[in-house]
């Protein structure tokens, strides 16, 4: 393994933070989020999993697409493409898999989304393997692993005495080129699989691979109205999910300084939206498609496991990374793994 100590890692990260934006797990009011940090001291070392995924760094909750300037001479549209390099430290394999899944939509299918593409090109992912799987984690059921490195640019593994690391991509190699490290012959320790991981509480069965389920056959099942009875349509699941990406676009007036002539400037913004919202598919004229919450919840699961993989060419993978955030955040215990256990029975 190539080894660095905690001190060497901290120093390297401090150096990165001086050159570009360093985003890392950071504690805010008792919860963990990926946030820009000024130094390695602001990083929440020893963290498990953040509440929000790294999706925000590529596809922010609110993004200005264009500035629209209205004047007597007409209308001017100014693109608002994102600038600035960023490094994200502490990316878990499930999060990195999520980025790859979003790549299939924003980058690999025409037309390329220039906003996402810019951020993606300007970002380097420095991953941190999980030492163990948590009770709601199920990345192994969807083709991932707690120490999966293939979606990262650089990958770190916690070992005794510090971290083992490897540069996975050329971008990663460039980033670690100034990193001082030692080498030894030890093997990397394997991650601990918690007995509750990937089981949804049942010891005898693991959560089935969603791709082994014949989804169309289950579309009209009575199961969906029953399992969605407790859903509040609160949308928390879609917002913490690493791969949910529905958005809405609207023009809004830009605030102007009082006293200046009304500038007539607007911004065209896109914001996160959620298919769980009651008015998500309200069409002109007032008709609401997917009026029932069972239809909406079913759509979310089918999108994850059937529609999105087909629409964006994920092959045999699903659009779910098995991170378990939705399980933790749901206020009423709607559980995607329970659903997979039932449907995959």
């Amino acid at each position: 393994m190539n080894l660095i100590t905690q001190a060497q890692l901290a120093e390297w990260l401090d150096g990165l933070a001086r050159q570009r934006t360093l985003i890392a797990p950071h504690e805010v009011a008792g919860i963990l989020l990926y946030r820009p940090v000024e130094s390695s001291q602001e990083i929440a070392w020893g963290f498990g999993r953040t509440v929000m995924s790294v999706k925000e760094a590529f596809f922010p909750p609110t993004e200005r697409l264009l500035t629209i300037q209205k004047s007597d001479g007409g209308i001017e549209l100014i693109e608002n493409l994102p600038e600035g390099e960023q490094v994200i430290f502490g990316v878990r394999p499930c999060d990195a898999r999520g980025v790859k899944i979003l790549d299939a939509l924003f980058l690999n299918k025409e037309p390329v989304d220039p906003y996402y593409a810019r951020r993606r090109a300007n970002t380097t992912l420095v991953g941190l393997a999980c030492k163990e799987m948590g009770p709601t984690c199920f990345c192994t059921s969807v083709g991932g692993a707690p120490d999966e490195a293939s979606d990262m640019d650089v990958m770190l593994y916690e070992v005794e005495g510090g971290y083992a690391f490897e540069a996975v991509t050329d971008k990663g190699k460039a980033l670690v080129s100034n990193l001082q490290f030692t080498s030894d012959d030890r093997d990397r320790p394997a991650p601990i699989i918690n007995p509750q991981s990937a089981t949804c509480g049942e010891r005898s069965r693991t959560i089935p691979n969603p791709q082994s389920i014949s989804w169309p056959a289950h579309f009209t099942s009575e199961y969906w109205p029953r399992m969605s009875e407790r859903c509040l349509s609160c949308r928390a699941c879609t917002y913490v999910c690493p791969t949910c990406r529905c958005f809405i676009i609207r023009d809004e007036v830009l605030p102007y300084t009082p006293g200046e002539p009304a500038a007539g400037a607007f911004e065209r913004i896109r914001c996160w939206d959620s298919c769980e919202g009651e008015n998500y598919r309200r069409i002109a004229g007032g008709h609401r498609q997917r009026a029932e919450k069972s239809e909406r919840l079913r759509n979310r699961f089918f999108c994850k496991f059937y529609y999105y993989p087909e629409q964006y060419g994920l092959g045999t993978a699903s659009a779910c990374t098995g991170c378990g955030r939705c399980v933790d955040v749901c206020p009423v215990g709607v559980d995607i793994t329970e659903m997979l256990m039932e449907v995959g029975r």
Binding site: V28, A29, G30, I31, L33, V51, M52, P61, T62, P135, T136, C200, G201, E202, R226, E229, R230, L232, S233, C234, R235, A236, Y239, V240, I248, R250, E252, P255, P258, I269, C271, W272, S274, G277, E278, N279, A291, E292, V327, V329, P331, V332, G333, D335, E338, M341
Partner: protein, 449 residues
């Protein structure tokens, strides 16, 4: 150039606007800082309008109506008199100096009074300096002030749940077997060992219902108009049975006064409560000093009233008192720190039994009240607006805060509003089936549906 405040004045057609005219005719000097907006009545000036006025950059807002007893619409100025002080308390709590919002009464002939009030108000606002309410994104202060999760560490004693579990199951079976109800909403334990809401549709399914210290959810949220779509052409669906704790039963009273459902459509399985537990195992903050241990409305009651608990300030009450002692600028910084991590997922709103608007004011397609961006001004407007809309209606079940993925201390807003309403009107939401004092009921008769 010295700072001159920009003031918006809402003047009612019948009295104060004419009063302003009278001042003008008498050549009394009124400051040029004031831009008048004529409204039919001071009661029309909704709190959302005032909040939006400040969001748009006003340094001060002046509302002038007819003297009490002289309103052209009889009770319009009563509405203003009740609502606007509550709004002012809320905005002050969020960091706006309360002197920037003034409500007063001027009649049509009182030109001098209008001029005096206008000049006084402009002088007051000028002395406060430019308003720091609308936050430009580049100036959001560093989020250094953190507030630990409000769970406290009062342990929950053990209590016997088996008897209550059996009683709930028996009652549910009885109701389902007789066909008196279509389904029973209660609690169950899921495969991961988490207690969660449960829906029993048959007598056999009643066996999954439980009672335990984790039954913290407010099941009345499944009863509002938002949950049960009206089905045209199908006869009135069967009643629903709901397991309600004391705090939940108060929500029932509020929902009944707001015509969310007819009383006969709901069968209430009331359960006395020794307190419920937080995820971390400690007693919920709202339970720490709760002495409403028996539901206020029920059709059947399960359990004996528990012993009363000692009264002492909870962490929430202490924090509110602490914030009240701080300066407006310090409070502003506190609240901006909290709203910064809000993602406008609206989980708080969806979890709340009282939030039942078909289209939320803050989620309109035409961005009428606030924009749709996840930006500081919009997030604050949503949270303050929702807190105001819940004043006198929120029963303190704290589902909003529990549902929030970001640990935003929403209870600090709702409890503050509850304190203000209780101090001003002696009203506690849901103890009786009467509406909140600041909710307007348009007709004396409640209609079905």
């Amino acid at each position: 150039m010295a700072y001159e405040p920009r003031i918006i004045a809402y003047l009612c057609t019948w009295c104060s606007y004419t009063g302003a005219d009278t001042a003008g005719i008498a050549r009394l000097k009124s400051p040029a800082n004031i831009r008048d907006i004529r409204v039919p009545c001071s009661g029309r000036v909704s709190p959302e309008l005032v909040m939006r006025t400040f969001d748009q950059g006003a340094d001060g807002v002046l509302i002038l109506g007819c003297h009490v007893g002289e309103c052209h619409y009889e009770t319009g100025n009563h509405r203003a008199a009740k609502r606007l002080p509550i709004l002012r308390a809320l905005m002050s709590y969020a960091g706006l100096e309360p002197e920037r919002l003034r409500l007063d009464w001027v009649s049509a002939s009182e030109g001098e009074r209008f001029s005096r009030i206008a000049n006084e108000f402009v002088d007051t606002v000028r002395a406060l300096g430019p308003v720091k309410w609308r936050v430009p994104s580049e100036e959001i202060p560093a989020m250094t002030r953190q507030f630990a999760a409000i769970c406290g560490d009062v342990p929950l004693g053990e209590y016997d749940c088996a008897a209550k579990t059996d009683a709930i199951r028996a009652k549910a079976k009885e109701l389902l077997t007789s066909g008196a109800v279509g389904y029973v909403v209660g609690y169950e334990v899921g495969p991961r060992g988490r207690t969660r809401p449960s829906f029993a549709n048959t007598p056999e399914e009643a066996d999954k219902l439980v009672w335990n210290p984790d039954c913290t959810y407010n099941l009345t949220t499944y009863l509002g108009k938002k949950r049960r779509p009206a089905i045209k052409g199908i006869e009135q669906p069967k009643p629903v049975a709901v397991v309600v704790k004391p705090c939940d039963s108060r929500a029932i009273n509020v929902l009944l006064t707001e015509n969310q459902f007819p009383r006969e459509q709901v069968y209430l399985i009331g359960v006395t409560c020794e307190g419920t537990r937080h995820d971390h195992g400690a007693l919920q903050v709202r339970c720490q000093t709760c002495n409403d241990r028996v539901p206020v409305v029920y059709d059947t009651l399960i359990g004996e009233p528990p012993a009363p608990v000692p009264e002492y300030p909870t962490p929430v009450a202490l924090k509110i008192a602490g914030l009240e002692k701080e300066t407006p600028a310090e409070r502003m910084e506190f609240w901006l720190s909290q709203f910064d991590r809000c993602i406008r997922c609206y989980a708080c709103r969806q979890a709340c039994p009282m939030c039942n608007c078909p289209v939320c004011l803050y989620e309109r397609d035409d961005s009428l009240w606030i924009g749709m961006g996840v930006n500081m001004n919009e997030k604050r407007a949503f949270h303050l607006g929702r807190a105001y809309h819940l004043a006198g209606r929120c029963v303190g079940c704290n589902e909003c805060e529990r549902a929030c993925p970001m640990n935003i201390p929403i209870s600090l807003l709702n409890m503050k509003m509850a304190q203000e309403i209780e101090a001003a009107f002696g009203h506690r939401a849901g103890m009786e089936p009467v509406p909140s004092p600041i909710v307007t009921v348009l007709s004396g008769e409640y209609k079905e549906g």
